[in-house]
């Protein structure tokens, strides 16, 4: 017979690092990320799946952290906005192209919705063929599930296209280098 628990110890590969925590089973993943793991970059807006602010990557796929229980990610990989950048091997960090693009295109005002946009768009861009030019439909699909109440959508969409163009230029450069 399967046991029924009210608290459980979970192990999660969080931004590449294995972390363990004991959490009440009714905690949402967003609760565990903020209150147990201290990753307050994940913002909680509506807490019922509408606004997209709390979107994180579970096994690489954008997922609302308010619509998953913390115990359900036991044994899985979770990436938050804090995990999008990469070490530059000189003690610093290299931002994901979409993070650079947000800065470049002024794609945030108050910044509350930004972590959800960044995780969703980063995963979407990483999953597509960077050599192909991004379409307006793709951009709409990337941003359509997240709300921004400063109404900065125009610049957010601009940032999507900017990031896609950067990634496209990167593969073109790499292809050239490879041909040499």
């Amino acid at each position: 017979m399967t046991s029924i628990q009210t608290e459980r110890t979970i192990t999660v590969v969080l931004n590449g690092v294995s972390r363990e925590a004991t959490v009440p089973v009714r905690w949402l993943l967003s609760d565990a990320l903020r209150h147990e793991f201290g990753l307050t970059g994940t913002h909680v807006g509506c807490e019922h799946g509408v606004c997209g602010s709390c979107t994180v990557l579970v096994d690489g796929e954008p997922t609302r952290s308010c619509l998953v229980l913390a115990v359900q990610v036991d044994g899985h990989q979770v990436t938050t906005v804090e995990g999008l950048s990469r070490p530059d091997h000189q003690g610093g960090q290299v931002l994901h192209p979409v993070q650079e693009a947000f800065r470049e295109c002024h794609a945030l005002q108050c910044g509350f919705c930004t972590p959800g946009f960044l995780t969703t768009i980063a995963a979407g861009l990483d999953a597509r063929d960077p050599a192909v030019e991004i379409t307006d439909e793709e951009v709409d699909e990337l941003v359509g599930g997240n709300l921004c109440r400063c109404t900065g959508y125009a610049n957010i969409k601009k940032a999507c296209r900017h990031a896609a163009a950067t990634m496209r230029a990167d593969v073109a450069t790499k292809a050239q280098d490879g041909a040499r």
Binding site: T2, S3, P24, R26, L28, R64, V71, Q72, D140, E141
Partner: protein, 293 residues
């Protein structure tokens, strides 16, 4: 906005899941959770135990045969959306799942879960009805198949009671010389549809319309399938009066009004969406008939 306390179990077999469900009348099955967790967070539901079936192996299969597509309880909308094998047998599956919420919800939410949730604004409840589908339900007494007409009782209510796990949903394949279409009107792409329509048009060997059927979203309390053949049957596919079929559909539905749309506006949308989708489906049926399918 936090769920009320509950107990949590994540069994690894269907039998264990049924044991937990049988021991606690207030227990509820958790699959994708994209509808259930908001209900918990808003305290509209407070199950005493959540039985998480995500660790039960064997429930995540998409089984495609010439007869139809069987979708396991743990198949996420996103997987069904991208299954070309499933789309080849029943194109409505891909067309409808493309309209289910946003990508982040589709990555987690399950097709079978949304059917068990029985929301009349859900896409997959209507597709189950339109394709004349059924679900397989496991109970302590054994397994049974429930057709869609017997499954949907009311908004968010099915005929499945007591300890039970819906194992899969079966969507029969598209008949030959047929075409389909699916369309929604929503305030924002991915939001709940103000109104939606899925249709199937079938032609006879002479490229005349033999039947036209439609199912709607956000229109009735439970999914309904309306036969619109009377308006177009016997007409050559190129000259059938789809507007007349839309007119017929408007008279058959009985939508409610709410904050998002009045009943009259919904009825208007039923007519418009019916006309548009039937024309699209008919063109597809004609090209499939031409290709000898």
């Amino acid at each position: 906005m936090k769920p009320a306390p509950f107990g949590y179990a994540d069994p690894t077999t269907v039998e264990d899941a049924l044991d937990v469900l049988a021991a606690d009348e207030g227990a509820k099955v958790l699959a994708g959770g994209q509808s259930l967790l908001p209900l918990l967070s808003m305290r509209l539901a407070a199950p005493t135990t959540l039985v998480d079936i995500n660790r039960v192996p064997g429930l995540d299969g998409i089984e495609v045969t010439p007869d139809g597509v069987r979708v396991g309880a743990l198949v996420r909308h996103a997987r069904l959306l991208h299954s070309t094998e499933a789309a080849a047998v029943q194109p409505l599956l891909g067309r409808a799942t493309a309209n289910v919420a946003h990508p982040a919800i589709r990555n987690r939410g399950t097709t079978v879960g949304s059917i068990a949730h029985a929301d009349p604004s859900g896409e997959m409840t209507s597709v189950l009805a339109l394709t004349d589908g059924s679900v397989t339900v496991a109970t302590p007494g054994g397994r049974e198949t429930i057709g869609w007409r017997d499954l949907f009782v009311g908004p968010l209510e099915t005929s499945v009671h007591g300890p039970a796990v819906v194992l899969d949903a079966f969507f029969p394949g598209l008949p030959e010389r047929s075409g389909t279409a699916f369309a929604e009107i929503a305030r924002r792409k991915g939001d709940y549809a103000v109104c939606g329509a899925g249709v199937v048009v079938t032609l006879d060997a002479d490229r005349r319309v033999s039947s036209a059927r439609a199912a709607y979203l956000s229109v009735g309390l439970v999914p309904e399938v309306h036969d619109l053949s009377d308006a177009v049957a016997g007409k050559p596919v190129d000259s059938a009066d789809w507007a007349a079929a839309g007119e017929l559909a408007r008279g058959l539905v009985d939508p409610d009004g709410d904050l998002h749309a009045s009943a009259d506006y919904r009825r208007l949308l039923v007519g418009t969406l019916t006309e548009r989708t039937l024309a699209t489906a008919a063109a597809e049926a004609a090209s499939r008939a031409g290709a000898g399918q």
